[in-house]
Every structure is written in C-alpha cells, then in structure tokens.
C-alpha cells in the first residue's frame, strides 16, 4: 500500500517535470519565432545599427548627414525667398525685375543642386562601406539617392525595428508575377526580398495588373 503511494507520488512528480520541460521548450520556440526566423533574431530585438556594418565609415555624424541638414536649411531659405517674392508689389518694371531675379535664382538653385549632388556622389563613392545601402536594405523603406535625408535621420536615432523576416500575416494571398511573389495581407502588399542580413518582407506596390 505504502509502495503504491510512493509510486503514485513519483509518477506525479515525473509527469509535472515532463510537462514543465515541454512548456519551456514551447515557450522558447515561441520566443525564438517572434523574430520570424528559425531560432529568431533575438525575439524582436533589432540587430541593425551602425556597428552592424563593421565599416571604417559611418552615417552617424558623417558629412552626408550634415549635407542633408544643409540641404534642409537651403530649402527653408528658398521658401523664405518665395514668400518675399509673393509679397512684391504690382507694376510692370517690378515684375520684370522679379522675373529676372527669379530666373537667376532658379539658375543658382539648379547649379547648387547639381554641385550638391556631385559632392554627395563623391562622398558616397569615397565612403562606400558606411552602410547607407545597408540601412535601405534593412528597413526596405526607401531606395535610391533621394532618400538621403531619411537615412541620415535614421542614423542619429536608435536602431530601427527589424523588418519582418516572416510574412506579416498568417494567411497571405500569394500572387506570383514575373518571378516575384507578392503577398497580400488585407489591403497591404509585401514582397520577400534579400535584405542586409537575410530574407525580409518589405512593403511593396500591388503587383502589376491587380
């Protein structure tokens, strides 16, 4: 009778131990899967940032970031001049002068923009490893040189949230078009693409013809 009680007690302890192990495993797997990849990328912690590039140049505090600020202030100055122009009085002579000034201003702005683009190009060629493209591929948010200001702003803050490595919804509608598979979650479309550190889902335009 006594040995039967011992057996029951031992069996109960063993069952709880096994149950605990299974629960812990499941929890670990759920935690790992939060990053969307096998083993997870740290359960949703960002693994992107300036140090991820392992580069000898960085967007943080770089001339490129300063250039973006310069461009922004240039834009503000331009807006002020536009407002001043709008307040000009009527009159043919004045209109002519205004026109001439506007023409000269446009020329200067065009030259300035061209020179700025040229300087920017030279800078990026010289600091090719600084991770501008990496920021783009990591977030999937922006592509192209027009995004300089956005990437610079990103460089001065903490690491951006990681792009989803798994489809953003559980049952996306898959539409293959031209070798690219589009995933639809609600009204939002995604495309799987190779990001800086592996495959990610980036928000995209709807597939052609949809």
């Amino acid at each position: 009778m006594r040995s039967r009680s011992w057996f029951a007690a031992c069996a109960t302890v063993l069952a709880f131990t096994l149950l605990g192990t299974v629960t812990n495993d499941a929890r670990a797997q759920r935690g790992g899967a939060r990053g969307g990849r096998p083993g997870g990328q740290g359960g949703g912690f960002s693994s992107e940032g300036p140090a991820a590039s392992g580069a000898f140049s960085s967007r943080s505090g770089s001339a490129a970031a300063q250039g973006a600020q310069t461009r922004a202030s240039g834009g503000r100055a331009s807006a002020r001049e536009s407002r001043a122009s709008a307040q000009g009085t009527a009159g043919q002579n004045q209109a002519a002068r205004q026109e001439a000034r506007a023409g000269a201003q446009a020329g200067r702005q065009q030259y300035g923009a061209s020179a700025q683009a040229s300087r920017q190009q030279a800078y990026e060629d010289a600091h090719w490893d600084e991770g501008k493209g990496l920021a783009i591929a990591a977030t999937g948010a922006v592509v192209g040189r027009a995004a300089g200001a956005m990437t610079s702003a990103a460089a001065t803050s903490a690491a951006p949230p990681p792009p989803p490595a798994a489809a953003p919804c559980s049952n996306p509608t898959l539409v293959p078009v031209g070798g690219v598979t589009y995933s639809q979650c609600g009204s939002t479309w995604y495309t799987q693409a190779y990001g800086a550190s592996g495959p990610v889902y980036v928000q995209s335009a709807p597939p052609p013809g949809s």
Binding site: G49, S53, F56, Y194
Partner: protein
C-alpha cells in the same frame, strides 16, 4: 691560477655589461621605432593583404545594437572567407541565432543564399573582387563587415580614411606577438592588433562608432589565416539547391514609399 680568476671576472663583467647594453638598445629601438611607424604598420597590413592573391580566414565577430530602450544587445557571428584574386570570393556565415548563409562571387554573378529560408538572390556582376565588394555593400545594401580589408587596394582605402593612428604597445596577449594600434577615421574610432613578423595580418579589430547613440562597437577576431588555400573551382560556383526560391535583393526593388520614386541599385563603380 690567480691570472685565470682575473680573466674569468673580466669576462663575466663584460658579458653583464653587454647584455645590459643590448637590452637597453633593443628597448630604445622599439620605443623609438613604434610610435612613428604606427601609420606604416597599418598601411603595411593593408598592403600585405591587398597583395595576397589567395587567402582564407575565419572571423569571429560581435557587434552592438542599441535598442529603443537604450539597452545594448550584442550579436555574434562567424564568417569563413575564401578569396582568390582577381575575381573569386566565398563567404560562409553563421549568426548567433543559428541562421547560415553563403555569398559566392564567381567573376560573373554574385549570389547569396539563406539556408534557413531556402531562398537566394543573384545579381550579374562582371568584374573583380574590388568592384564586387563595392557593389555588394554600397549598392545592394548587403552586410559584409570589414570588406575594405579584402580589397586589393586595402592600403589606399585605409590611407584615405584614417586621420590619425598611434602605437599603443607590443603585446603577446592574443597568442602571438602583435602591434596594438589605435586610430580614427572621420566617423569611426578603431583599434587593431597586427601580427609582428613577416606576415602583418590583423589578429583583432575593434571599431567604435562615437557619433551613434550608445557608441556601439564592432569587434572581430581573426583566426586560421591561410595564405595558400588552393581552393577548388567548385567552391566559387553557386548552384541553387533544390526547392530554393529566387528572390530579388531588397535594394533592387522599386521604391515603395510616400514620395518620389527612387532608382533601383546601380552597378558598382570602380574607383
């Protein structure tokens, strides 16, 4: 007998003096040479790496990312890089979360394959390793830490970027004699331990990003350097595994964001 004793004393005294003088001379030479040669040591490493036609190395790296909470997370990875100039490169990586990937450049195409997701991306890239590294990192936006060191023009890339470099000490703490240097570029502070000897190879590198929030670091230790690996051609051939899907590079996708449309990734320039 007395003459022999005197001779022995003189010999002993001479040997003592000689050893003291030699030690002092060596120390003076080391102290005098090292600080002024710090830049030369750094560029010598770049020159040596750039001229090495074939190599393989294992790089165990860690880097910090600063989270929105302000807390730092350290990520780890191991890369094995095999290089055969002018136009062959293979990099196998394993990240701390267990994901494995491989990058292969065969002189015509660059391919990257993610084992976990069974997906790969490919882009045409005729040219050499130098152009490919630029295209891969800058234009395709892919990670390849310390890519500068594996270019044939590593020395000039370092020379152009490095604003200051100083000699810290000679050390054997990493297992082999090395020169410990510190330096900075416009945006990155770095430390490097370079082997002291005929092969000035990096043993360890620490990069600090002082302008970034939390001043994160990238740290790498190099091991298993092989400067005559004789890799088989197959090592630089990428054959998509069965059931693997091809996906585009994220940077090559047309822009989708509020605002003006951007351009897809341009080809790497050779500068």
């Amino acid at each position: 007998m007395r003459g022999q004793t005197k001779w022995t004393v003189w010999l002993g005294a001479w040997l003592c003096a000689a050893s003291v003088l030699t030690a002092g001379f060596c120390e003076a030479q080391e102290a005098g040479r090292s600080p002024s040669d710090a830049r030369a040591l750094l560029l010598g490493m770049g020159e040596f790496l750039g001229k090495t036609q074939q190599l393989s190395v294992t790089v165990r790296a860690a880097y910090d990312t600063v989270q929105a909470s302000g807390q730092k997370v350290e990520w780890n990875e191991v890369r094995t890089l095999t290089l055969s100039r002018p136009d062959r490169l293979r990099v196998e990586s394993e990240r701390s979360n267990g994901t494995r990937s491989v990058v292969v450049f065969d002189g015509k195409e660059i391919s990257t394959f993610d084992e976990s997701g069974r997906v790969y991306a490919q882009a045409a890239q005729p040219g050499g390793v130098d152009e490919t590294l630029v295209y891969f990192v800058r234009d395709l936006g892919m990670r390849l830490p310390l890519a500068v060191l594996f270019m044939s023009r590593a020395a000039s890339e370092l020379e152009r970027r490095v604003r200051a470099v100083e000699y810290v000490e000679r050390t054997g703490i990493l297992g082999a004699p090395a020169h410990h240097l510190i330096g900075r570029t416009d945006t990155v502070n770095f430390q490097v331990w370079i082997s002291d000897g005929e092969q000035p190879l990096p043993q360890r590198i620490v990069l600090t990003y002082p302008a970034a929030p939390g001043q994160p670091q990238f740290r790498a230790e190099f091991s298993a350097w092989n400067l005559a690996p004789q890799p088989a051609d197959a090592l630089f051939t990428f054959t998509p595994p069965a059931a693997a899907s091809k996906i585009p590079f994220a940077a090559a996708l047309p822009q989708y964001a509020p605002g003006p449309a951007g351009a897809p990734a341009k080809k790497g320039a050779t500068r």
